[in-house]
Each structure stands twice: as structure tokens, then as C-alpha cells.
Symmetry: C2
Amino acid sequence: MNAALEQADGAHLRLRRLGIDTYREFVVFMHRDCLVCRSEGFQVRSRVRVTVGDRSITATLYVVGDEILGMEEASLSEAAWIALAANAGDIARMSHPEPVASDSFLRKKIYGGTLSGPELAAIVGDIAGHAYDDIRLAAFVTACAGDRLDLAETIGLTEAMVKVGDRLNWTSAVVADKHCVGGLPGNRTTMILVPIIAAVGLCIPKTSSRAITSPAGTADAMEALTTVDLDLTAMREVVDKEGGCIVWGGSVALSPADDILIGVERPLDLDSEGQLIASVLSKKIAAGSTHVVLDLPVGPTAKIRDQAAALRLAERLRQVADHFGLVVDLVLSDGSQPVGRGIGPALEARDVLAVLGNQADAPADLRDRALTLAAHLIDLARPGMAGAGRRLAAEILASGAAEGKFLAICEAQGGLKRLATAPFRRDVTASRDGTVTAIDNRRLAKAAKLAGAPAAALAGVDFHVPLGRRVHRGEALFTLHGQTRSEIDYAAEFVAANPGIVSLSQG
Amino acid sequence: MNAALEQADGAHLRLRRLGIDTYREFVVFMHRDCLVCRSEGFQVRSRVRVTVGDRSITATLYVVGDEILGMEEASLSEAAWIALAANAGDIARMSHPEPVASDSFLRKKIYGGTLSGPELAAIVGDIAGHAYDDIRLAAFVTACAGDRLDLAETIGLTEAMVKVGDRLNWTSAVVADKHCVGGLPGNRTTMILVPIIAAVGLCIPKTSSRAITSPAGTADAMEALTTVDLDLTAMREVVDKEGGCIVWGGSVALSPADDILIGVERPLDLDSEGQLIASVLSKKIAAGSTHVVLDLPVGPTAKIRDQAAALRLAERLRQVADHFGLVVDLVLSDGSQPVGRGIGPALEARDVLAVLGNQADAPADLRDRALTLAAHLIDLARPGMAGAGRRLAAEILASGAAEGKFLAICEAQGGLKRLATAPFRRDVTASRDGTVTAIDNRRLAKAAKLAGAPAAALAGVDFHVPLGRRVHRGEALFTLHGQTRSEIDYAAEFVAANPGIVSLSQG
């Protein structure tokens, strides 16, 4: 018996890689009759501390029979395997984890209590340390839902989220940034604004998110054109060279606890005002931003339903930003209909290229929104030029300087990809003549998601009829795009069962 | 190619049993590169409908590599395999499930809305149908936590829980029952009360629960002495023969949605008033009970903290019971310290046998509590004899009739088991002389759980010093019992880190 084998008793098992991918959940697999399970009293779904050398993780136990593992073996889900940096044949020690320290704070919040800064820091620390299972994560997200976090708690959560992640520093004294508080399909202004701002000479190292509950986030749309999962060194090189970038925030670990929470909010299709603010601002603070324009689209089926809700959220955002010394400008925008035509990563990227290329048929609404936000950001970051922002932004776009900068950024991030088109397409047509009076953004987004977006980059919805457009019976209102036949069937079934996505006036 | 193999394409895969036990979670395993994943657009953690013949379940997808499954194969977690009644080699069709119909109601509750009866019925139906994953279950439990369900919602939840399960009918017009609203270690009165009531000639087909957050439920303690997972037919035979039984409620599917919710409440150590009421009363209604005594222990570290909370809960319990025509009596009892001496399945069973056997050293408090509740139940179910209950109950216990009835019930349920003692024991001693002034039930229960209870039936805490007892330095306050050395070490560490479990007065 060699040393390694001798260790495979008591609380030790030899790791074998089975390649079981559970997404981000840490799972450890052991034989149901193995000595470790018996001596430690572990049972299915026990939390188990797995230690290899000086590295440890806490995982949920699933037990298996002879079909997969021997008595002296254990395996880990892929996420756990990678986090532990394990190698096949490593001897792992299995032990009882410390109780989750922040459990009592979590329960306090569940019962409607108010959490202090240190209590929130303990919860966020445990989340970032992967000590929370899905049940705890879902409970925390639910306990904070709606308006259940007050101002002090929102500040505490923001601060805690910044602390557990990386924090970027830039040599530039002014670091410009922009964020849209979601909910509007196709609102891909970042990819137009960033090259404009960079062309002005401002520093804009933009980290964007992937979709949470929408059919595409900016990172998803940008990924249809170039690489977005750059590490910090690569990101710095792009920004040093071009003055700006558009990368996925998750690959630079700016607010890792937020990314974990988002993984639970997505299946619940859930937002919390306090968590939304902490999520947005923690990432801006961690990214080293100093001047930020926040776009708040308002509309009956947008994430922010009405003006009153928008003003309340804007006020709270400003209060929290002030606390951290972040200079913000809040822009309430029209959220009554999709922006541009495409909904889904590749379709939205196509619209962006049309605007940057000053194409005659480019979506005017997308162009206008991007210019407005760029103007606000220029005026915010260069107060000496107050009011000159709009003219400057428009000039840079019209001259082709913005397009040139965008292509240079794509090149610096790893090269420009060619946009493909989805293999399966299906028109959804008007059942009668009429004028478009309302558009249900949520159901339209859902149709795009059922068609496969954002995971299927080419999938989504191409939308043809803005508000006020006169349509005739049989005319296409929108076109479903899909990469598989079954997904497009699924989306089409949903659309057929929800005939009110586009409302038409009589006659 | 035979017919089965020909089907193993498109959306069909051949089932192979890998024996992966995920407790009650339904998981489907497929090869990450299999045709089904690609053609259907499934990804890790997608929800997948798995159909064999005319049976379907919805499961969460985990993907694997060549190490475990071939391209034409799929596997299921054991719970899913059993629910689908699958056989190795069955061809399963994989498809997109219908969206969870009650998701919008769940979100409404998360955001603080009030749910109607039909909305609650939709949620409970989806829970009982295994359409909710852990994230949804945790969100629902959290959204209902504390007092977030009003009276109408509590009635709606109770009704919905009854509807999705089995419902028992008894020939007897009066069906007696008893329930303790938890939180008091060692309060094992049911095992004494049931034989007394049955010996009186009343029908008492008792279904009990396993521990939720405590070191033992009645079903756990009873299981230390006899079989408790009887099916309905076996339960009826016992009741026909002996007039009463004590079986585990989960094996007769009285309120299956409740059992699923409890699986999520346990790791969160969470209670909700509305859910607690729905849980208790739905099981009583489903069990066919007509007259029920409810024991509400009140104490600073019991589940119900003070008299005001107890009265509020009692009032709400009575309102909901009234709605369903259930005759209830609510007994507020002393919850300031553990009952009896043992905490943990076997240790509590030992105390019960001592009381039933009229042993001189039997715990007087356990005896007295059981007699009080039995008296209330006799008076409630036989109003003509009002006031005679206490005398009658005491006579039946003293005469040995209760013990005889208990042994007969154990015999009918499958035979009496011999009680064993835990192999590992460790005394926790007084650090100085003093008088016991307070006992922290919650931490004492936690120590018993860390020692292995209730899963390890012999594990727990043997408690020696009731309130008011004078103790000397070095005297044992309680003894930890464990079935493994590592668990008893773990419990001892917790006790060492929490020196205030037993408070002593000065001098």
C-alpha cells in the first residue's frame, strides 16, 4: 500500500473525475456505503467540506452505488472540481463544514428584520465563498424582493458586494460609464455609446452583463461580434490602446456575489429594488468608474412600470451613489416599445452595426437613444463643455469615427466575427388590418427566449412594426428566429397562445 | 437496428440506471453532446420533461461526458427513476415542459401580494406535481415566512394541501387526534396519550411527522421501538384491531405538498405561521380527524416565545379549524425547559417506556403533560363526561392498561424492537456550583442534532438537571450520545463554544 492508498480510509477518499456538470452548484459524490459516509454520519444532501492540500470547498452530497464509484472513491461536479483545482487521484479529506455563520442573519431578514452592514457583509461573504446552497440563495433573494431593503441596507449590500470582489484602478482621473436598468428588448445603446465616448478621448472601460431575465445582455450581443471574456490584463491592454472596451463583467470577478445571486434570480424572473441598486452600483464602484449615466426606461411592460416608480428608483440610486462618491446622471427614457428591430444577441448586434455604419435603414430610435445617453455622459464627465455633448456625439457618429473606433475595439478584443443568420425563421402575421397601439415587451421577450435567446446567439425575434404603424392583414408583425426546429415550434406555440403581443386598433 | 434503437434519436434516449441518489430532487442526466441536447436546445439546469409510455416527470438537467453515459443514453436520479416507474432500457422522450403555470402567482406572493384560493391551489398543485425546483420552493417558503399569510390565505393553503393528497375515512363518527406545535425537546407525549385514548375506547389513528428542525419527531422516536412506515391498508388493520396507531404520516401521502415544503424549511430552520397552521390542520383534516387537542408549548427558547404570540397563533388555528368544521381544544403549556430527560429518538422512547411502565424514576413532567393532554382530548371527544378526563386518564395509566395497549399497538405495527444505547457518550459538566436558572432549548436541541439525531436514532442528549436543581462543580449537566466519534466530537465542540446552554445562579 502506498501513502496515497493508506490515506483512503477514515475521512479520506481518492478523487475521480466523472465530468458531471451541475452548472455552478458544488456537489460531491460518494458511494452510499463508503466508510466516510458511515464514520462521519453523512447523508444525502449533507453539506460536506472537501479538502485537498490547503484548498477547501463546501459541497452538497449525493450518494451513488457501485455503478459509478468504488468505496474508496469520490467525485465532484465540474464547478467544484475546478474551484478546488483538483487532479484525478488526489486524496481528499471529507469533514463536517462549520455551520454557515450568517444563517441567523438570513433568518432575521426572512422574518422581516433589518440587517446591519456587518450582517450583510457576513451574508455576502458566505455567498461569495460558495457556502450558500440554492435554497439559501433563493431565500435571501426572496427576503430582499420588492422594496424590502431600506436605504442603509442597500448601501450595506453594495459595500459588501464591492468588498468580496476584485477592484479595478485606472490611471485616468475620470472614468466614464453607462448602465441601463434593463427591461427593454433590443436596447443595445452601449455598443454605440462606448466607441463615441472613447473617440471623444474619455476613458470608458465598460464591463457589461449577460442577460438576467432578458433575451440578451450587452455581453451576449457583443459576443456575437467578438470575444468578451477577457481577463483583467487583456482588458487593460484594450483600454490602453483604444480608450475603451466592452467586455463581460463576470470574467473579471468585479462582484462575484452578485453573479451568484443572479443565477437564482433568473429562474424566478425576479428583481429586488435594493438588490438591483447594489448589483448596478457595486459593479460600477468595483470597475473604478467615476462618472456614470444611468438609463431608466419606463413603460407599462418595461421593468419600471411608471414615472412614479422610476422617480423613486432614481432617487434611491442617487442616494446610494452619493454615499460612495459616484457622480451619476439619471435619464428616464421611453420604455413603451422595443428599441431597434432585433431581439436576441446576433439580431441586436446587426442593428448596432447598421447605426454605426450610418446605414439608411438603420433603426432611428436606437441611434437617437444612444446619442442622447452619450450626450449626457459627455456633459457629465466634461462639465466645462456643458450642453455640447449632443452635437459632439452626433458628429462622431456621422463622421464614421464611432464605427472606426468600434471596429478597432473589436479587433483589440480578439477580432471581428462575421454575423450569421438563424437557420429557422417563422413570420407572425397580423390577423386583420389596423394600427399598432401597444406592444407587450415582456411577452415579446419571452417569445425570443423560447426561441433560444440568449444561449442560442442567432435566435430571437426580428420586430417589424413600431407603435403607430398601419398594418394589413397577413403582414408580418415580427419574425421568430431559431437555431433548432423544436425551439422555434415552442416559441410559435407560445405566440399562438398569446395573441395580444401586438395590439391593433379597429379598422 | 431494432425498434427501440431506432427510437433513440431526435428526442429519444435509452434509460440507464446509475443509482445517483439526490434525495427527493428529480434530475435527468444526458451526454453534453447528445443529439437531444442539441436539437432541443437543452442546457445544464434546463427543466426537461421526461416521458416513458404515458408517464411523465419534469426534471433538472445535469450533463455528463463519456465517463458515465453514451450519446444515446440518459439516466435519472433515484427519486425520478422511482416516480417514473422506469425500467432499465426504457426509451424516454425528452421535451420542453410546459412553463410552470403558477410562476406568476409565486412572484405575486414574493412581491408581497395576497393570493386567492385558486392561486394557492395552483401553487400547491405544482408543488405536489414536482414542478417546483428547490429555488422555487425556497422562494415560496420565504415569501410566506413569519406572518405574511393572512387568514384567508391560510385557509386557502390548508384547503389546497388537503386536496392534493389522500384523504382517510373512518367508520367511527368521532376520530380523536392530538398535535404539538413543536419546539420543545423531548416532548414525546403522543406515545403515552394514544394508548390511553385507545384504551378509553376512542378511535385515534395517529399519523405523526418526522423531525423538521428538531432532534426527533414522534415518528422518529416511535421508529426506535417499531415500524412506522405503514401503508394505508396496514394502518387500517392496526386501528381496526387496537383502536389506535402511531405511524409516520409521510407514508400515507396525507399532505404531500407539505412534505415537500418541509424538505426546504429544514435546511433554513424556518417556520411560517400560515404554513405551520396549514401544515398541521391539512394533515388533521386529511387524516379524517374530528376532535383535536393542540399543545402549544410557550417559552423564551421554545418555538412560541411568549404568551401573546401563543394566543395569536391559537386564535388563528381556531379560526382556520372552525372553517373546516374541526373541533379543537388549544392547550398552552410550559415551554421553558426540555420535557423528560432524553432528546433524540431512542432516548425519548426510553422515557416514554418508563412512564408507561409506571417506573419510579420515570420523568414526572412527561407523565403529567401526557395526562393533561389526554384529559383534554377525552373531555373534548366525550363532552357528556366533561371533567372526568383527568381521572380516567390517570387510572388507565396507573393500571398498566396504557402500557398494555402501547405494546399491543407496537406488536400490530410490526413488533417491538429492543432499545439500544449509543456507543459514544460524553458528559458535559458544571464549571462551578449553582442553581439551574435557565435552559437554552434551541442550543440544546442543536447539540443533539450535531451529535447525529434524528438520523442516528441512538444519538442525542440525555439531560439531567431541570430548572431549580442545585448542582455542584463537575457534576454532569447533560450527556452527549453519538453513534460516531466524529459526530460526538462535533457536538462537543459546539457545546464548548456555547457555554450558556445551562445557566447557573451564583453561589
